[in-house]
Assembly symmetry: C2
Homo-oligomer: 397 residues x 2
């Protein structure tokens, strides 16, 4: 038959990153994964054995859409007490990864043709999700302290039907940039002034290697303008797909209805497992182990980049998260560089998929959470060679 | 703040069934659950222990959106070899329960305002999902052999932009009705003639207690018009949320993109667990145990209904599945009956949420997979009393 596809799916193709991940490479800086070394497998195994023994009748049965109540409570309490996230008018919904939180937000807050403002570059999984709702994406450039707020306010004035501002304020994907406290306060002022939601996507914020924590936008929110999307993917395990959203209860009621239609509820066995892990083990101590592992890898990658990269290539020095963003000289192509790198069996992700217009650009993303120290050294040396091959020898230095 | 909701979520409220399930009742005929007695917990526990020991680095990590390859292969092979489902142009995608298959089908095949034809009454979770895409639902009445195909063809001629026909052809939810082979063939002819997709939702078809299996629509499909939605929820465990779709590869490519945006992939640990279960245990033997348990419960419920129900109330006698559908005399209300029943601590689901127009009607749904034999006896006796209380003593008999 001749299949008539929905207009919203015309031209939508598989994510460029996922296609690159399918390529074989000896060394990969292309992932967005946590290191498998950080998975608390022994603890989860013990809890799972107990669940299968004593509570399988509940854990393998249907659950309620809102999520397993103890997991909602433990998560909400931890976020409120430790990070000041969540107020009296807020509720919490367990989602199938942070990704589902983004999808449900788009589903419940936008109509086709509405406008979303976001950082550019930004997380490709979010951008593709928003595109599938036929939203107009308007990218706001960043500097080392976050979005340019003058350009953001101009866009808020200029663009029709702006429904939310999508931001990853802490250790942004793909740049590693953290929005400063001053800009966060100003962001909230703008959200209030123009009555738009701030969709705060924050899967990395607890992975801080240097400096003082910056309060979440949701922590500063007194008027219900912030919808916080969190995740256990980078702290416990991404394969289990456990995320959550914290936001105004009126909005969450609708997100529950939307989630019912999408997947009824999130895998209940792993919801219970996560709740038991939070209750019986020390997540904060576990996070500190992740921090030590990743800090060493970040330090090693930055040292190697300083050693091997052509001085015309710049890169960010993030205080946390799992990504570093590189920039070739103006006019050069991240996509061409990725091709030179993969020829040498090194996988990196070019900047194009992270751009709101998907246009080729001089950016590229490096992940440091997956490769070990030796792979980081070898991979960055290869990257240095690939860059030399692509942009040629230094003209002025 | 004043939250501006998406038009698609205006008036969308939590599912009536889920709200009823939250009520306390001594006996519940309101569930759509399999019996926890059927969960192969010991087998899953052994497989999980092995996975945590030897393969946690993969099982807890991100996976690919299409699904765990051995699960896709084992499922596709089983469905093709045992049930003749799936051809050369077809592919398989693992989904987060059958529900996500329905959602992705609506997302990839329809534009806002398009029309969907479906049985009425039909599965409330599907209807609500389709409503959230702003689709027009046109219900086609059924008799004991399935949809009235004259009315279906009239609707295909009359209604604008019909994108698919949604059907649960075997042991339908909520009626238990199985579409006859003759009507299945005619359904396919109509799908070809009017070039619309048949969305075949079939979570119950392997739970047959009497009679000969009727081939799936997908089994009869030679032209790529059928998208088959399957699930392990009623055969292994619903809490794990593992379903699948089998359909034309061009359509599935788009469904993969849509799924990337929704939840990246389905819980990988349980995808692997399900694959290992299929490879190392005998699912068909397990299904036969489920069949024996449920057959006894169905027989007991039908016998009790014959004993206790006012003769003016009719009910279906399904050959499988987990539901029986009752009908009060014309003009009476399933919702009123459900209120009389819950006063006596018996939960049933009224017909209104299953109707495409959500209007009150004389129908009500009874589940027999969850209550045990004693609960069935007591519950049906209570139902008989509630009916007498509501519709009064027999006038003619």
């Amino acid at each position: 038959m001749d299949i008539r596809l929905a207009d919203r799916m015309q031209g939508r193709n598989p994510s460029a990153i996922r296609e690159i991940l399918k390529q074989n490479a000896d060394i990969s800086f292309s992932a967005g994964n946590p290191s498998a070394e950080t998975f608390p497998a022994a603890e989860l195994a013990a809890l799972a054995a107990e669940l299968f023994e004593n509570e399988y009748a509940q854990a393998l049965q249907y659950g309620i859409t809102e999520g397993y109540v103890p997991l909602r409570e433990l998560t909400a309490n931890r976020m409120r007490e430790k990070h000041g996230i969540g107020g009296l008018d807020d509720d919490i919904l367990i989602t199938s990864g942070g990704q589902q939180g983004l999808d449900l937000a788009a589903k419940c807050l936008t109509n086709e043709g509405d406008t979303i403002l976001c950082e550019t570059p930004s997380f490709v999984g979010a951008l593709n999700c928003f595109r599938s709702y036929r939203l107009r994406l308007v990218g706001i450039p960043m500097d080392e302290a976050g979005m340019d707020l003058d350009q953001l306010e101009q866009a808020l004035r200029r663009e029709p039907n702006v429904r939310f501002i999508y931001t990853i304020p802490t250790f942004q994907n793909p740049t590693g940039i953290t929005t400063s406290l001053e800009r966060r306060k100003k962001l909230l002022e703008l959200a209030r002034k123009y009555n738009v939601i701030l969709l705060e996507d924050s899967p990395y914020f607890e992975l801080r290697y240097d400096g003082e924590p910056v309060p979440a936008l949701k922590c500063l929110d007194t008027t219900g303008h912030v919808l916080f999307v969190g995740s256990y993917s980078k702290l416990i395990s991404p394969g289990m797909r456990i995320g959550y959203v914290i936001g105004h209860k009126d909005l969450l009621t609708k997100m529950v209805v939307a989630k019912q239609g999408q997947d009824v509820h999130t895998n209940l066995f792993f919801q219970i497992l996560t709740a038991r892990y939070l209750a019986q083990y020390d997540l904060d101590a576990h996070i500190q182990k992740c921090v030590q592992l990743y800090r060493a890898r970040r330090d090693r990658m930055i040292a190697a980049l300083e050693r091997h990269l052509d001085p015309r290539v710049s890169f960010t020095r993030p205080d946390g998260g799992i990504f570093i963003w590189g920039q070739l000289p103006e006019g050069k192509s991240g996509t061409e560089l990725a091709k030179h790198a993969i020829k040498r069996s090194l996988a990196i992700v070019p900047g194009a998929p992270f751009a709101t217009d998907e246009a080729d650009n001089p950016g590229f993303r490096l992940n440091f959470s997956v490769p070990d120290l030796a792979q980081i050294d070898r991979g960055v040396a290869i990257l240095g060679d690939a860059i030399q091959e692509y942009i040629g020898s230094v003209e002025t230095s």
